[in-house]
């Protein structure tokens, strides 16, 4: 699972750049090798986020893994 986490983190950084603060990995779940939530510093339109997430899914699946991901905006960043 560590290998999947590292790969997802690497691709997520490529896609979201500095807007990615962290990925909160929750572990394997119900047929997925890994599920987790991307934590972003700033909001972005859903369509942009979906496109970036789609690229992550494609690259992860090319490696033979199945993951499920979501994203949220860091609540402390929103208040600032």
């Amino acid at each position: 699972m560590r290998e999947v986490e590292e790969f997802v983190m690497q691709i997520a950084k490529q896609q979201f750049g500095e807007n990615l603060l962290d990925v909160d990995f929750w572990g394997p779940f119900d047929g997925d090798d890994l599920i987790g939530e991307l934590i972003l510093a700033a909001d972005l339109p859903e369509q942009d986020a979906l496109d970036k997430l789609g690229e992550i899914y494609n690259k992860v699946e090319d490696m033979g893994w199945t993951v499920s991901l979501g994203w949220i905006v860091d609540s402390t960043a929103q208040k600032e």
Binding site: W26, F29, D30, G31, D32, I35, E37, D43, E46, Q47, L50, D51, L53, G54, Y57, N58, T66, S68, L69, G70, I72, V73, S75
Partner: protein, 131 residues
């Protein structure tokens, strides 16, 4: 009730339920879960139109639906990767809503779930007449 009616009625019901004076954490989780199933049934409808029989699947139904949609619709250019990712995102949110009670939902997150749901519903509506 067919899948499109179900998807549309679930959306109408979710919008009404959101306005009820109830515990918003419960309301959020309820809405997210039901919207995912509205979208999931649209995915199954597409597969049925393609000649698949998702009603006969007994295991890994949700992941299998996503995999078959990718193969039969996204990889062939019928459905956008964005719409497919919308369905995947709704599934993730549903898992969060139903199994991860310690992970709270933000108000903005629920707004996004509604918009993502509409994005998927609209693309399926446009695609169906050609199938």
């Amino acid at each position: 009730m067919d899948e499109i009616e179900f998807a549309e009625e679930v959306l109408v019901a979710a919008e009404k339920i959101r306005k009820l004076p109830l515990n918003q954490e419960i309301v959020s989780r309820f809405i997210v879960s039901k919207l995912y199933y509205g979208a999931h049934h649209l995915g199954r409808l597409l597969l049925k139109k393609h000649g698949e029989h998702p009603d006969l699947w007994l295991n890994n139904v949700h992941i299998r639906t996503l995999r078959e949609l990718k193969k039969k619709f996204v990889d062939t250019g019928l459905l956008s990767l964005r719409a497919h990712t919308a369905l995947r995102t709704l599934r993730f949110k549903r898992i969060k809503a139903d199994y991860f009670l310690g992970k709270p939902f933000q108000t903005e997150e629920i707004d996004k779930v509604f918009r993502i749901y509409r994005e998927f519903l609209n693309e399926v509506r446009l695609l169906l007449p050609s199938l």
